[in-house]
């Protein structure tokens, strides 16, 4: 087996391009001279009941990855039931499917993995396994989705309660949550992914059953499958998801509009303050999406869309500096995180505000725009290097108005972004700030 890759210290992105001034060499396809190569060919079909199946074959190895998007996400959690999405998804994984073996056991015995991710507008179950195992494992997943074992709710609730309590101590989670409380007021996405300890403690099996009923709506369900996609795998997906009920899922609630600047402060047991400055932003299917991706690159992205998503197998970051663009929510949010060390936060905030003012201004150099586009393109392509992320991107594309061609359209749109686009988008969105601050707790507190 291979040895372990070096970890090394993580690079801390800064507000690079805006503040640096000098530009580096811009190679290759930079200015759009060379055509952008497409992703491997994909196919999309819609079952009679409305379920969308998107597939993209790449048969290097006998592996398959499938993202199953079901239209029940964080935003759809009822008032007072924050945490039910996490509990319901975990119960699905803990549901017995082959004798006493749970779905998770069954997949692990085959060497595969089954995880879930809570998105603003859906829950994603991700199954990765050998191509030959896929038909029976996707059957197991379908069984668990259809009949989650509610006797597991009490045990899962205890685990979720612990997670919710721990997450509340994470300063990054705290600032991100404060932003969401303002930007998504009136929806379930305004609450912590794991739920509030107070609400989690009150969630009953009947609440979980009601929420998990949302997993059965064909309209809004997308199965995106990549890797060694065989006819048997596609047949299995058609067979298993062709029985979903055709009724559409209830629409997700819309958040209240933001009319003024907000500043929210909290205290945590941290050595240094954290600040998040947030703006409303276009979502991924907006015509302004590509321009906002370039702005994110210019601000110095600290990570990709998955950096703050709540998944069953990845802990939340305890260190994140730079821009984070949450574009899966409606509307999206552009959030810049700063702090966590003894940096001069006041100066950093002033630098950011100066940089954003510059984006809104008239004098963006062509070189600056080119650099931002290169970085945005690179980030976009590099965000799809695993089967999991390729399936995620394929599924998001299938849900777009353009269908699966979307994943190849986004790079073209990034390439077409102009200085005028940057200015227009910055002026439209980067105006009313929400500032969330986490300060070190004093002894008296």
């Amino acid at each position: 087996m291979n040895c372990f890759r070096d970890a090394g210290p993580r690079a801390r992105p800064a507000l690079i391009a805006l503040l640096a001034g000098a530009l580096l060499w811009l190679p290759g396809a930079a200015s759009g001279a060379a055509p952008l190569p497409p992703f491997a060919g994909a196919v999309q079909e819609r079952l009679p009941n409305g379920v969308i199946i998107a597939s993209q074959a790449s048969g290097d190895l006998p592996l398959v990855g499938a993202q199953i998007f079901v239209p029940a996400g964080l935003a759809q959690q009822p008032a007072g039931k924050a945490g039910v999405a996490a509990i319901a998804a975990q119960v699905v994984l803990q549901t017995p499917v082959e004798g006493a073996a749970t779905l998770q056991d069954s997949v692990r015995q085959a060497g595969g993995s089954i995880t879930y991710t809570l998105d603003p507008l859906d829950t994603r179950f991700y199954l990765e396994c050998r191509a030959g195992d896929f038909p029976h494992l996707v059957h197991d997943l379908r069984l668990a989705l259809g009949h989650p074992d509610l006797s597991r709710v009490a045990a899962v609730r205890e685990t979720t309660l612990t997670q919710a309590t721990n997450a509340a101590q994470n300063p990054l989670e705290a600032t991100y949550l404060m932003v969401r409380q303002v930007n998504y007021s009136g929806t379930g996405f305004a609450f912590p992914d794991e739920g509030d300890p107070l609400t989690v403690a009150r969630i009953l099996p009947s609440d979980v059953a009601a929420f998990a009923a949302g997993y059965q709506h064909a309209n809004g369900t997308i199965v995106a499958i990549v890797g060694l996609v065989t006819p048997a795998a596609l047949d299995a997906v058609r067979r298993e998801f062709g029985t979903f009920t055709p009724e559409p899922a209830p629409p997700a609630p819309s958040p209240a509009a933001i009319a003024r600047l907000h500043q929210v402060v909290a205290h945590r047991q941290v050595p240094a303050p954290w600040v998040a400055i947030a703006y409303q932003a276009p979502n991924q299917y907006s015509t302004d999406f590509a321009a906002m991706l370039v702005i994110e690159a210019l601000l110095g992205s600290g990570g990709d869309i998955h950096a703050f998503t709540f998944t069953s197998d990845t802990p939340l970051p305890d260190d994140y500096v730079g821009a984070y663009y949450q574009y899966e929510a409606q509307p999206g949010s552009m959030i810049v995180f700063m702090g966590g060390e003894s940096a001069n936060l006041d100066q950093s905030v002033r630098d950011l505000e100066t940089g954003i003012a510059r984006l809104r201004g008239e004098n963006l150099s062509p070189q600056l725009i080119e650099e931002g586009k290169k970085l945005a393109l690179g980030a976009y392509y590099l965000s799809a290097d695993t089967l999991r992320d390729q399936a995620w991107l394929l599924g998001r594309s299938a849900a777009s108005p353009q269908g699966i061609t979307f994943e190849n359209l986004v790079p073209q749109r990034i390439l077409a972004v102009s200085a005028a686009d940057i200015q227009r988008v910055a002026r439209r969105y980067l105006t009313r700030e929400t500032i969330a601050i986490v300060l070190p707790r004093q002894e008296s507190q």
Binding site: W25, P27, G59, D60, L61, E128, L377
Partner: protein, 465 residues
């Protein structure tokens, strides 16, 4: 072959090369002096150029990405064994060196929106670039320019020193790294496997520009090196492009210094406590050399059975004993011997009790033969775990590089396809319950080397190993 590669002459060459390989014919490469090497996977071109440089190019993946890697066999602590960290400093300096025309490798990758990784192992250094495929050509030139004609000036030397100082600090804070380094220092009495690849502040202070430049002159010779390119590429044209890059003249391939085993390795060794207060324990056993491919594969299987994060026997034993403890473990395939290690750490870990848990779980695992059904299930799971770790272009390239560095390129697990062809998976298919048990008993019933990271008192904290 599932897909054709590229068009025109390149595709013709590729099909011809694959046909020749399938028929057992050693074809002459399309460019002067290059020789096609053995089967290294489908949609893959493997060549050794006249200069001695090995090149593997493979079309893979669905995303328009490419992974470009360069590996050079070299001792991380220098050819005299007296300069721990020199390979890392050299690699950092090469990546930061600004040539007369164009940017440094690091800047070129960043400007392209790509990702540069530098990993230094005891006996090899790796440069890895992942970037959109449309920039592959430019970045390949930048990478080859940096490493095939290694140049270090005062500015890049200073930059490399600064980076090395930073990663030394980070490595000292990583309990896993500390335990692993200490375990290898315990298992090997000298040589590259003995010293931390990060070196230490004293060795860093002693390094000079001349020493680092001399190290690269000695180590970075084509016969020591491999270029691996994977992703949305045309393998034949990429290979040809590498061949056409201005090659240095051959150069003598230096011998890798030996890493003799420590005869007193079984005596437990206690480390200085870390400032973080984390405690830990690591156990290590020597295993089969890479030349014994079947036994090395059996140890890979056994390692997966014991250490898989979801289902490993040792992982479950550790969780039962201490749910908050962090676990890592792996069999590392090396020239001779391989090493199987496990490490456990935590804030309130009882290292004595954990040592007992680990030893008992290992002893129990080798104490009985798996049933045929259990074995088949475990072997299938092992294969799936392995395939999942190789699913990215970069991971495929990693495994080619690692096995090249260990002198067994065609044994690389990457040299396979959807049908699980290739040397490695043929070895997997040959495993039986009796054989894997016999290998496990041969190596894991020996007394392990043990290193302990104790809690210590507050006054002694801050002094790290």
């Amino acid at each position: 072959m599932r897909r054709s590669v590229g068009g025109g002459l390149a595709a013709l060459f590729f099909c011809w090369a694959v046909l020749c390989a399938a028929l057992g014919i050693a074809p002459r490469a399309a460019w002067a002096g290059a020789a096609v090497i053995g089967d290294v996977g489908p949609q893959t071109v493997g060549t050794q150029l006249a200069s001695g440089l090995t090149v593997v190019a493979r079309k893979s993946g669905a995303a328009p990405l490419a992974a470009l890697e360069f590996w050079v066999r070299c001792p991380a602590n220098g050819y005299d064994g007296m300069q721990p960290g020199i390979a890392r400093l050299a690699a950092f300096a090469l990546a930061d060196h600004k040539p007369p025309v164009g940017p440094s490798l690091r800047d070129a990758v960043r400007a392209a929106g790509g990702r540069l990784g530098i990993s230094v192992y005891p006996e090899a250094t790796q440069f890895s670039v992942v970037a959109p495929a449309y920039d592959m050509s430019n970045l390949l030139s930048a990478l080859l320019g940096a490493v095939l004609h290694p140049a270090i000036d005062q500015a890049s030397f200073e930059s490399g020193r600064t980076r090395l100082a930073a990663v030394q600090v980070a490595a000292e804070e990583g309990v896993d790294q500390v335990l692993r380094d200490a375990l290898f220092a315990q298992l090997f009495s000298a040589g590259p496997l003995h010293d931390s690849t990060y070196g230490n502040p004293i060795s860093l202070r002693a390094m000079t520009l001349n020493a680092v430049a001399g190290f690269t002159t000695t180590a970075y010779v084509p016969g020591n090196e491999i270029v691996v390119v994977t992703g949305a590429i045309d393998p034949a044209s990429v290979s040809q492009r590498v061949a056409q890059f201005g090659m240095p003249s051959g150069g003598r391939v230096p011998a890798m210094p030996a890493s003799p085993q420590n005869q007193q390795a079984a005596a437990p060794r206690a480390l200085h406590p870390l400032a973080t207060g984390v405690t830990g324990i690591a156990l290590g056993w020597t295993g089969p050399p890479i030349s014994d491919e079947r036994a090395a594969t059996a140890m890979d299987f056994w390692s997966d059975y014991l250490t898989d994060p979801d289902s490993g026997v040792l992982v479950r034993a550790v969780r039962t004993a201490d749910d908050g403890a962090a676990f890592s473990g792996q069999f590392i395939t090396l020239r001779n011997p391989g090493v199987f290690f496990v490490a456990v750490s935590g804030q309130r870990l009882d290292t004595t009790a954990m040592a007992g848990v680990l030893r008992a779980a290992v002893a129990n695992s080798v104490g009985h033969r798996m049933s045929d059904a259990q074995f088949v299930q475990a072997r299938d799971a092992f294969v799936t775990h392995l395939l999942r770790t190789m699913q990215t272009d970069e991971a495929l390239a990693d495994n080619y590089g690692w096995y090249f560095a260990q002198g067994a390129l065609s044994y690389s697990p990457s040299a396979t396809g959807p049908d699980l062809s290739g040397d490695y998976f043929a070895r997997v298919a040959s495993l039986t319950p009796d054989y894997v048990l016999s290998v496990a008993k041969r190596y894991l019933m020996a007394a392990p080397s043990v290193v302990i990271l104790p809690a210590g008192d507050q006054s002694s904290r801050g002094v790290s190993q």
